[in-house]
Amino acid sequence: MEFTPRIIAFLCNWCSYTGADLAGTSRMEYKSNVRSVRVMCSGRIEPTFVLEAFKKGADGVLICGCHPGDCHYQEGNYRCLRRFLLLQKYIRQMGIETERLKLEWISASEGKQFAELVNSFTETITELGPCKIKETMQILT
């Protein structure tokens, strides 16, 4: 069977989710592999959320927030960026390809960019193949 990746996207309420919404209302077509989770701010996305997503079988995790300087809460997206960079370092050590975790800034007007991002990220993950984490977590002895 052909591999269809499962991707979890965490989208901030003020920019990225609205941007994704714009893609939909503008009737743009993009891959249906992404499951969106709306959060109030990209600064709300704890490393736990990302790791939990991988553990439960996500093949890729996409984080989107407001462009630098545009955060509704002033600094949330910078926190997100720092956590993202640290997480990248951590998942590399754990044997998860860093390409599986992506951070992009999507503003409320960037519906087109969102659709393109989803398509290109889905393509990257399809090329990488399924994430082996779920399999590894089952082996115990």
Binding site: P47, L51, E52, L81, R83, K89, Y90, Q93
Partner: protein, 324 residues
Amino acid sequence: MEGSKAKLKLAVYWASACGGCCVSVLDVHEKLFDVIAAADLVFWPIALDIKYHDVEEMPDQHIDLTLFNGAVRNSENEHMARLLRKKSKILVAYGSCSHLGGIPGLANFSTKEDILNRVFIESESVVNPENILPQPEYEVKEGVLNLPEFFNDVRSLAQVVDVDYFIPGCPPQTERLLEVFVAVVSGAELPPKGSVIGAETKTQCDECIRKKTENKRIKKFYRPWEITDDGYSCFMEQGVICMGPATRAGCGYRCIKGNAPCRGCYGPPAGVTDPGAKMMSAIASIIDEKEPEEISRVLEDVVDPAGLFYRFSLPVSLIRRKII
């Protein structure tokens, strides 16, 4: 216990452990007399010559309280975990290894194959021209010899058997053990099953003895030996990574009082499953940079995030081993 005069039956066992937990039990010093007055030690390999088959012959639930320290690394550890579960009324995971996987749990960064190769073949001090590796079974003319089977993954006690309580620490503080012991002996009402006992619910930082301000803005992280500690202000504010924000309180700040940052042996505070993820969150929040290149430069000082943030908790964390 039947009748008021019956003495408590107490067992202490070490699985994949360093022995420090058993020593922390011995650290009751002269209070040992009080312990012995209230309890019979029916099994304790470090101190008493009682064999495994003696434990096997005990009736089920014969032992009132078992302190099980050490992680589950091989089939012997697993066998003893199951056996002691069957023979004990209360089974306590005692110490970081049995609670969280502990230091032996760091082996989950490798595989069984890697470890055996390194130890028995590649190691500079080993001469093994025939590349002989330990076998669980080996036939000689006198019969079959057995060794415990070495597992690929290190597990915490609760990942193998049902555990009643957890006493964290590397090793747990003896005073806290005595409190627990006195509670069991006195017949006081015990906390709900699955509780972490002998510790607080909040974090280390919550009541830390060092001086804290809101001003945690870090442009560079230091290893403890790279700076001169002023002796009183928060380690994080000085740029030294301290596991306090993601670690349960209750140890009495032993490391902090010794002017060393917290290493996280008491595990996550109540309500947190993955201390390392919390720690990453905390560390990221205090970095005072906004450009990706600058942030990455600061993060270069966090050389080994997985090993540092999951030093004691890798086997019970969300991603409990390196992907193979």
